[in-house]
Symmetry: C2
Subunit: 386 residues, 2 copies
Amino acid sequence: MNYFSSDFKLGILGGGQLGKMLLTETRKFDIQTLVLEPNEEAPARYGCNGFFKGALLDFDTVYEFGNMVDLLTIEIENVNLDALDKLEEEGLPIYPSPKTLRLIQNKGRQKDFYVANGIPTSAHQRFVDIFDLRKSLEKDELNFPFVWKSAQFGYDGNGVKICRSALDLVKLPEVECIAEQLVPFKNELAIIVARSVSGEVKTYPVVEMEFHPEANQVEYVVCPARIDEKVAKKATEIALKVSQAFNHVGLLAVEMFQTEDDEILVNEVAPRPHNSGHYSIEASYTSQFENHIRTILDLPLGNTDSKVAGIMVNLVGEEGYSGQVIYENIEKIMAIDGVTPHIYGKRETRPFRKMGHVTIVNEDMTEARRIAEEVKNSIRVISEVK
Amino acid sequence: MNYFSSDFKLGILGGGQLGKMLLTETRKFDIQTLVLEPNEEAPARYGCNGFFKGALLDFDTVYEFGNMVDLLTIEIENVNLDALDKLEEEGLPIYPSPKTLRLIQNKGRQKDFYVANGIPTSAHQRFVDIFDLRKSLEKDELNFPFVWKSAQFGYDGNGVKICRSALDLVKLPEVECIAEQLVPFKNELAIIVARSVSGEVKTYPVVEMEFHPEANQVEYVVCPARIDEKVAKKATEIALKVSQAFNHVGLLAVEMFQTEDDEILVNEVAPRPHNSGHYSIEASYTSQFENHIRTILDLPLGNTDSKVAGIMVNLVGEEGYSGQVIYENIEKIMAIDGVTPHIYGKRETRPFRKMGHVTIVNEDMTEARRIAEEVKNSIRVISEVK
């Protein structure tokens, strides 16, 4: 198959920042790419060969878009799967497969899948709605504390709540949900596994994530994770097992907990490029976005090793500010060696909205971490008026 | 000035591969960019916020385009300078300045400038046309051998000819030209100097260029150049002197000869990102394209050091092939660690047409050079039918 400067058309469902960063790679390779996305001001509006405004959960919209392309991928999981099933049945290659997306879209199903495949994960119970969950509490089949998760459409901390008493249940939505055992952990880790159509597999190094305490959004991603070699090896083996269990094609970001006694528990997966791999643009021989393209087109995978240590800082809208964004002190951080801001292209900031990220690379991890702190304390994502 | 996700508009004159690679950076920073380019199928067609088809040498076209943007830059020197003069007079910031472009556009003027500024360069004579040159030969004021160069519009080996006897003059065009002393040299070197509006200056490492013997196009660019530290230091000092002499803002690629006795002679300059800096995308902390954007927007300059050794191989159309391009064996080279192809997005190949480049990075230079050779011997830029 000739993809380069040819008539071949790749379709991407979703046009957010992940789509935008995928387009950097398709432009580099001159692979024609069409994007379907509901928001016409989305980050991936530019850099594609065709942009189509449309609802990702609408059967007809997704089906018609699929008919315009030679291969379909996603940058967001919440898409119409019935349309994908039909397109796949009719012969369109779709990576990740609709089957995998169906498993992942529902956290209850995802957790059941881990249990069925012998993949270590925290204990969980599924509930059709919050009333069902309350009934279990009353019958003592469920006990505080636990982690409540919405079964579907959770994203970046929305749809997750640690419940320690009945008070914590008050504001929870009535949706299908799961309750997970609250496991104390030392570290939150992630590994990105790249697996191509013909089964070539490579893993990125284990990264370590630090979360913002309030927004429950990743604040720093540190690569490589500052953990024991043995733990890294165990985590990598488990990530590979997850990828194989899904028979996954594309990237699979596997988020894991390292417990107090160095057990590894799979938290959840994302079947696409992931925030925890953004550092790879500057730090790795091959970025996660390039390797995503390589996997789904069945090209040889690129080297996932790092050239230098990498740390990523998310740029999220500061609390109290909404409106036309200003990146205060961006010049200041750009003056530091090895600092690269990525501005996603959202004009309006909102509290905790993901507006961009900054990568810090350095030969020395300690120095990279120091600079990351400096970056974090300098740059502010605000608006002109509060 | 707020450039990021703002109303600020950068204009680029020219939409070739250099423009395309600049757009990767403006997308990363979400800086609105408009492109003016005569060929509507040009590489920079995608990834800009507005693409305008128009002649770069037409006064009205360039003037009107300039009126749509807040700052103007170029990716090709041959643009209408009268329009730029008028726009600059009216207050539009233009980098590089029309004054510099005027000096550089004409090779005779460029050489005179080096002489006037005490910059070492091979001896030269200027001629209004080929008849003027022939007269000098007859009068023994010029002697074989010499290097004939068209004063204007030379590009990638066009407009340059080594003349050893009268026979070599036969096919030369009648245009304004110069004759340069033929200097035997060991190495052809280049240095990219980045200089911002407020005068911050950084230099990239010295690179070494190897030319294709027939096409006179660069075949390998090796960074860092495998030369003596003293020679590298001297070359860097001279490159900085050239940049200062021009009072240049933007990138200035300074091409130089290292003579047999380690003298450095400036050959010519390009006031923009340059083929000799493409390796920087993968090998440097900050690519030449990002630093070009930083210089002209007066942002702090990024680190020009390398993370790893880098070698670039140009992908030019193979002799004997014209038509819809095929990159034969591209999968084979992508299977090698540290190999990244860049496909510019020209659908039609022609003999010696620049269609892309491949970057090879490696911690070890010797290994990088070995792989570069392998890449060069594997990939072929051909068409389906001869």
